[in-house]
Symmetry: C2
Subunit: 176 residues, 2 copies
Amino acid sequence: MTKETAQIKQSFTEGLSHISHFWGFPKGVGAVFAVLYLSPAPLSLDELVTQSGLTKGAVSTNVRALARLGLVRRSAKLGDRKDYYEAETDFYKAIRSILGERQNREFDRAVRSVQETLEKLQAAKGSMQEAERKFLIERVQALQDFFDAIDALSRAVSKLDSLGISTVQNILKILK
Amino acid sequence: MTKETAQIKQSFTEGLSHISHFWGFPKGVGAVFAVLYLSPAPLSLDELVTQSGLTKGAVSTNVRALARLGLVRRSAKLGDRKDYYEAETDFYKAIRSILGERQNREFDRAVRSVQETLEKLQAAKGSMQEAERKFLIERVQALQDFFDAIDALSRAVSKLDSLGISTVQNILKILK
DNA sequence: TAGAACGTTTAGTATTTACTAAACGAAATA
DNA sequence: TATTTCGTTTAGTAAATACTAAACGTTCTA
């Protein structure tokens, strides 16, 4: 690998680290993905360590996060017990996977807390001023509705894909 | 305000703080928004300080962030030079504003770094192995295309709104 | 079955982030 | 023009986060 190639890869990696951080993931996640994305062949953990500049522990953590997000696939070489990883190149597939992942974890729990607030308000009949209660219920309900819509949208996007058509491009076609 | 009301507001605020943090914003941003969202009337900075439990400096910072994101509107009372703030209750409007904001700042810069990588690769004819160069160009170009599609989608969503119809609900109707 | 080759986990640390407290500057009022 | 009333900015700090280095458990090999 020439010096110039290395330099180009380096700056690309920094760019993706930055994007990763911007979207709320660790920078290392972006760095590891960048290395994999610019590799024609699957890489082992040790190769990732070398090329990313991170330590084994960090790479292990980050690459597992990427796999969970669907941005990276594990693969194996016959007669080699090392794990190999390669980048997912279908981004539409990846983004759906990310949405799904985000949806099902923290987000869901947080949304539930709004739901709980609503229930508490419903139950508070009598123990607070009726006008205020009505106002609060209205507002919290509106937020709840919004979250539900986001959720439905997310599901719809996933569904669209199962038809085998590229999601984003299709929405665009419709909106044109 | 009864003790129970305060308690309900409190737990709602904690929920939104959590959501805020989950989406990569400071928790204080969620807390301040929650207080405003549950208030029937616009609140001054000092009232926000009292009700959110944060200090003036923190509220000042967070409420300004919210205003930039379009989640909060500044308003004024006649004969009162205090700033007042109220929550945006049209979430579809707000989410578009957020998308726009995110698009135009860091994200844009990060995307530009991918663009630069591509240009460097184009210019590297001769100074690196041709097969490798071709592979790298292909991959980086694919990423670039993906970002462009995201950008186009975001623009399309904004455009849809300018027709005066509720964005998300419409996409859903189409996808059904 | 001893040793080597892996990936994961843990304890400690550095960095980043968002806060508080207080100083500050601008604008209104007296 | 002195004083009060605001919102913002700054310097310092506390908390959260993501890293390194090293220990560890497991699986394969000799």
